[in-house]
Symmetry: C2
């Protein structure tokens, strides 16, 4: 088959697509990995024991197609019904499903999101063939147009779907629930509040999903609950929107051991809450130490900090830290290219980072 | 929000959609489950041990985003390169991705498939907004239009995507590779040969995916390899088509323990091949016994049989067997409503089925 005919087999939309680039998962012995916002602490002993005990002949069977037991447990936790819940193969799957369920594959249908924010959002719009409305955040990463949201400014109040990461990445800033409530009321389309980092924040907006029929809240077991490996996220919202998402998903979208791990996690929340407190303590200590070393550290409501380093461009810091086996994240987008995003690790990892930063600064000075 | 406004948030396509209905996964103690073509034998002891040993602190980390090690092992098995391979969250995910990658969301772009065949295919076309071309199989479930495929008959040689289950479900018939080769050569669009059941067949068509750039072969670890619970399937094909599919998938689409389970499976193929032989033996025995009891059993190249029961309508047999805690599958589509689809279980399960069938026949006689 000649290359022209081969190319014609693939949709033009796909040919033009720039796929989302996930953070590196390198296998370097001794590497300190602070680049993809994973929790530095393992799942609880109870979770590990429960999953181990489940690895038996049942692997031959299909998992529960709607993650029934997990939804029942989450419904009790969030004081809603299982019909308010859909479980996904990570929250990424549900974000993609939301784009396909609530927006048309047409330049007339818009996906709206902050910029900078989760860099997957524009990819999801492009993948589907919907239009994008990236709304620039204020220079301090606060929400633009507030107070007094007005039409004809930056926001499209008729966007079919608006994706809001709160607390936001990579900025780290949390948006007050009262502000989000006002924002949601102004929107005519569906609003997803992506709370991937909310367990590290002072407040959450879950009640908005139970109050406004057009608002969905997205949560994940990946980061706060140390289950990235097993791909479990969920949406909370009005049963009609949730039912529409269920229609669009694969029948057995959530693997069985992931369901079991997430269920066991909900039985052991005390363990995780202690981890959150430790991560916040480390976050505040590290922020103070980096500030002393000349870094500008933005206030964070997440398990990472966004920080502007001194002396060299941020991209050079990325490399210099990598040379010392510390991996952080750098994004090329213009609003954030002067910053590094650093995941909060253990106290020992934070100390190693501070030592490396001091040594690099000393060399460069 | 009033119901009209709420409804407007959901795409008309989604509102109209009839979701795929997976086979039941009931929790009835002592149930003999012969309805969803799961393997009756557990994963090998080596696989279970390897997965158990992997349940540790690593669950906090993201899995390898491209299932690199698994692709390397599969490449050795199939004598191709890792670039010929994409791993999915079950092969269902990849089938859905194929529809989104190779067909337009437009009534001008067609998804073509046999009928009856895997009832997911029309749902995938509807979910995407592509047109459907269901091609009726001959009454004996053989491929129509062969020999001497002709335009203007049942086949659309320009369909953007053709999905062929081979061996087919629910008919159980396998299509000879030479016939499939001729069929693929006639097609101008992408052809996916869905070999979910191929390990129970006399031949496979993998070489067609390595020979024809527009042909992809779909495989799964679910059925033959007893890993339904963990959701791992894959496509083999031309690196350009595979690269297009990679662009469209979620970044971390395959859970980590699923990757590890599939890798360990490939180290232990001897165990599985012994299971396949046992299942074929049970299939032939059960077919003979049911034939003696007045059932018409179609020849099968899979781990299930399609069979037309005597005395009562098939739907009544479904219920009567269920009353005796044996679950089989019945489909309402007109070509197969007179049949039951029965998964091949262990010899003991097959004996229990034969006893139940004899008892039901005695009552009804």
């Amino acid at each position: 088959m000649n290359p022209t005919r081969l190319k014609k087999l693939i949709r033009p939309l796909v040919q033009k697509l720039h796929a989302y680039v996930p953070g590196e998962q390198p296998k370097i012995p001794g590497l300190i990995k602070l680049n993809t916002n994973e929790n530095p602490y393992p799942p609880s002993p109870h979770v590990l024991k429960t999953v181990q005990a489940a690895v038996d002949g049942r692997l031959r069977l299909y998992p529960n197609p709607t993650a029934e037991r997990l939804r029942a447990k989450l419904a009790r936790l969030h004081r809603c019904t299982p019909d308010h819940l859909i479980i996904g193969n990570g929250s990424d799957e549900l974000l993609a499903l939301a784009v396909r369920t609530f927006t048309e594959p047409s330049p007339k249908s818009r996906v709206q999101y902050f910029t900078p924010s989760y860099s997957l959002y524009p990819v999801l719009a492009d993948t589907h063939g919907a239009a994008k409305n990236p709304v620039p955040l204020n220079p301090d990463f606060s929400m633009p147009g507030l107070p007094g949201l007005k039409r004809g400014q930056v926001w499209d109040f008729n966007a079919a779907l608006t994706l809001v990461t709160t607390p936001n990445a990579p900025g780290g800033r949390g948006y007050p629930t009262a502000e989000l409530d006002k924002f949601c009321r102004a929107q005519q389309g569906v609003v997803v509040l992506d709370e991937a980092y909310v367990d590290f924040a002072d407040e959450n907006a879950l009640k908005l999903a139970l109050k406004h029929p057009h608002v969905l809240v997205s949560r994940t077991f990946s980061k706060a609950y140390s289950l990235c490996f097993q791909r479990v996220g969920y949406f909370v919202g009005h049963p009609d929107l949730i039912a529409a998402l269920h229609k669009m998903r694969d029948s057995y979208n959530v693997n069985g051991l992931g369901q079991i791990a997430a269920e066991a996690t909900l039985d052991d929340l005390k363990y995780y809450r202690a981890n959150f407190r430790q991560i916040l303590t480390t976050r505040e200590q590290l922020s103070r130490q980096l500030t002393k070393l000349g870094f500008r550290v933005l206030p964070s409501q997440t398990n990472f900090i966004l920080t502007r380093p001194p002396l060299f461009p941020a991209e050079q810091w990325l490399q210099k830290l990598r040379d010392r086996k510390i991996l952080v994240r750098w994004f090329g987008a213009k609003e954030v290219r002067d910053y590094l995003r650093i995941t909060i690790g253990t106290p020992a990892e934070a100390e190693a980072l501070v030592r490396a930063v001091s040594a690099i600064a000393a060399e460069g000075g």
